[in-house]
Structures are given as C-alpha cells and as structure tokens.
Amino acid sequence: MQKRYVGHCLRVIAVLAISIGAHAQSAPPQRSEAAKNQKPATAPRRDLSGIWDVADTMEGISPRGVKSHAPFTDFGANIANNEYKPGDGPRRVSIGLVNDPLDGCDPAGFPRNLLFELRPFQAVQTSSQVLLVYQYQRVWRSIWTDGRELPKDPDSRWYGYSVGKWEDDYTFVVQTVGTDERTWLDNAGDPHSSELRVEERYHRVDHDTMELTVKIDDPKVYTEPWLARDKLRLKLLPANTDMMEMICAASEAEEYKKTMANPLSK
C-alpha cells in the first residue's frame, strides 16, 4: 500500500514538473526571484485596483473549494433534490441527465461566478463605482459606491444589483440583491431564490494579497446564513497580464454535447 502511495506521489510530481514547465512558457508575466523574496508592500488605502487571481491552484473553481452549505429549508431541499441535476458534487448525476444551465451557455450569474470558475478578474475604480471585470464569460459587475441604497423590489438580473463601501482602509464590503433565481450557486447544484442577499468582503492583506469572503443569506432556501468563501486568498497579477477571453458559444457547446456528452450518456 505504501509502495503504491509512493508511486502515486512520484507520478504526480512528474506530471506537475512537466506541466509547470509548460505553464512557464505561456503564463502571465512573472516577478523576478529577487522581487519574490521581498516582503510585499503595504496595500494602498481604499483601493482594489488591479488584476487578481485565486492564489492557490484549484481553490477557485473546484467544488472542493466551496464550503458546505447551511441546511436546506423544505423549499430548498425540493429544488436541490428534485429539480437540479448537477454534474458534480454530492448529488451529481450521469452526464446525460445533467441540466446545469451553464451547459447551454446561460450566464453563470452572481454569485456562481465567485463560487465556480473564479478566474482572473480586474478591479477598476471610478469616482462612483468599482467595476469588476471577469475573464470567465467576459462579463462585468458594477458596484455602486456613490452612497445609493439597494433597490427595494428589483427586477432580477443575472448579476444582481450591488452597492459597496469601505469598512476601513483595507476592507471593501459589497451587498448584492436582485439576482436571477435561474442561476445556480455553484456546480454542485445548490439553489438560491430571488430573496438571496450576498455579502462580499474584499480585505487587502498587503499589496499583493487580498482575501475574499462570501456570505450567503437566503432564508427561503437555507435555514441560516453561511460562508461560501471564507478568506479565499487572491493574488495580484502583474499589471500587463493579458486576460484571455473565456466565452461559452452556443455552437461550440452544441458540438461538445454531440461529440462528447451524448456518447457518454448512452
């Protein structure tokens, strides 16, 4: 058994070594060794600007990176157990039965874009907004910082309505309502309702590091608020990083379904 384990480890190391070598050829610009050894500078005050990515490999997109949710209400349990058929997570079904809206190229929506496929994103600040520009599906969110209130009875939007404010010089807190309940919370098929309220906390640890905490509050679906991200570490990428596009095209999704998914489901 121990031998098998050692063999497995060697194999993983070999694959990683090859992969990292390949990665180095095309990864975003890297800092020099000397720069890496320097202690990161203090973060600028009240500023999220920059291109950010998940610091720890896989943490951002894997269902393993999603915290266990609070217990479902009866309403939530019915959706989760009878309506949503995810391709991953504890209730996953075989690929032919999956009804994940992403498979048809529906927008991931908010907050799923933070809980699955959290790829690089750029924060841009204006005098009245923080714009978060995401590589995944090439979409952006507007977070109003001009002091306005959240709408009382909003029409739903894929990415909701957001307002934000600085809690202190290094912690930016965003409140979001009005999300579209057709979206899933994550790729494990956890649902939400139109009553969902999300709080994001972006805390700058230092110049190069930020922590993201995401709180889900949806009394119609979950019995209590819960943290879907808890101080997820984000790293600042070099300013000249070219964020690639990552767009779901219906024609490509259909080709994938025909070639890969359908044979798998037979």
Binding site: V12, T57, L102, M244, Y256, T259
Partner: protein, 130 residues
C-alpha cells in the same frame, strides 16, 4: 505490414487516483478513473473550443478495423497556460495518446497526454494545474 497503422495498446495501468471531481461543471462521472488506454492514431480533427477542447482521431487494429475516437482536455485558457496552442496538433498527425476511457465503452475519453510527431509529449487533462 510494418507500414500499416498499428495498434491499439490496451495497457490498463492502474491509475492510483482518487475519484475526485474535476474542473468542469459537467464532472467526470462518465469516465473510468481506474483505467488508462494507450493508442496510436491519426488525427482527424482538433477543436480548440469551450467548454473543452477535444481531439478526434482514428485507430486501426491488427485486423484493419478502424475506430473513431474523441477525447477531451480542458478549455483553451487552461490549455494555453499549459503550453498548448490551437496549432499544437494538426489533422493528419500520427500521434500516441494516453486516454482515460468512458465507463460505458463508448469511444470517448479524457486525454491525459499525447505524443505529437515532433516527439514532444503534451500533458492533457490534469486537474492539479489550470
């Protein structure tokens, strides 16, 4: 005989992997995580697309029977970061592929690695790197 496209090495190597979820919203439930197949084949199509890139190739067994395969890797963004390009593989290339096959016996799978005509080995599906 030597010039005939050979093979189909059905070498099943025990892959000491956990049945972990992979970085795709459609999961990996349809694939046999315990198996790897090594095959030689001729590329018929290489699609550089979302949600996943995939490679189509034909293999010919010793009896001259042709099988059509399609195997997937991750999306173009991930594959670019691993050193792949849209032109890493071309139609007509003779390649050796290592594949994690479907549980149901369909000729589809996850492409773990491929040796291209230059001799270079490209790592395909690798959940530890994106």
């Amino acid at each position: 005989m030597k010039n005939r496209v050979i093979s189909f090495f059905l070498g099943a190597i025990c892959f000491l992997s956990v049945a972990a979820s992979l970085p795709a919203h459609h999961g990996s439930a349809g694939y046999d995580m315990e198996k790897e197949l090594v095959m030689k084949g001729t590329v018929t199509e290489w699609l550089w697309a979302n949600p996943h890139c995939f490679l189509k190739y034909d293999t010919t067994d010793d009896k001259g029977e042709v099988s059509h395969w399609a195997v997937e890797v991750s999306n173009p963004v991930d594959m670019t970061r691993r050193g792949w390009t849209k032109h890493s593989i071309n139609v007509g290339d003779q390649v050796t592929v290592t594949v994690r096959p479907a549980k149901n016996g369909a000729s589809v799978g996850q492409l773990l690695k491929v040796v291209v005509p230059s001799g270079q080995t490209l790592i395909g599906w690798n959940p530890t790197v994106r």
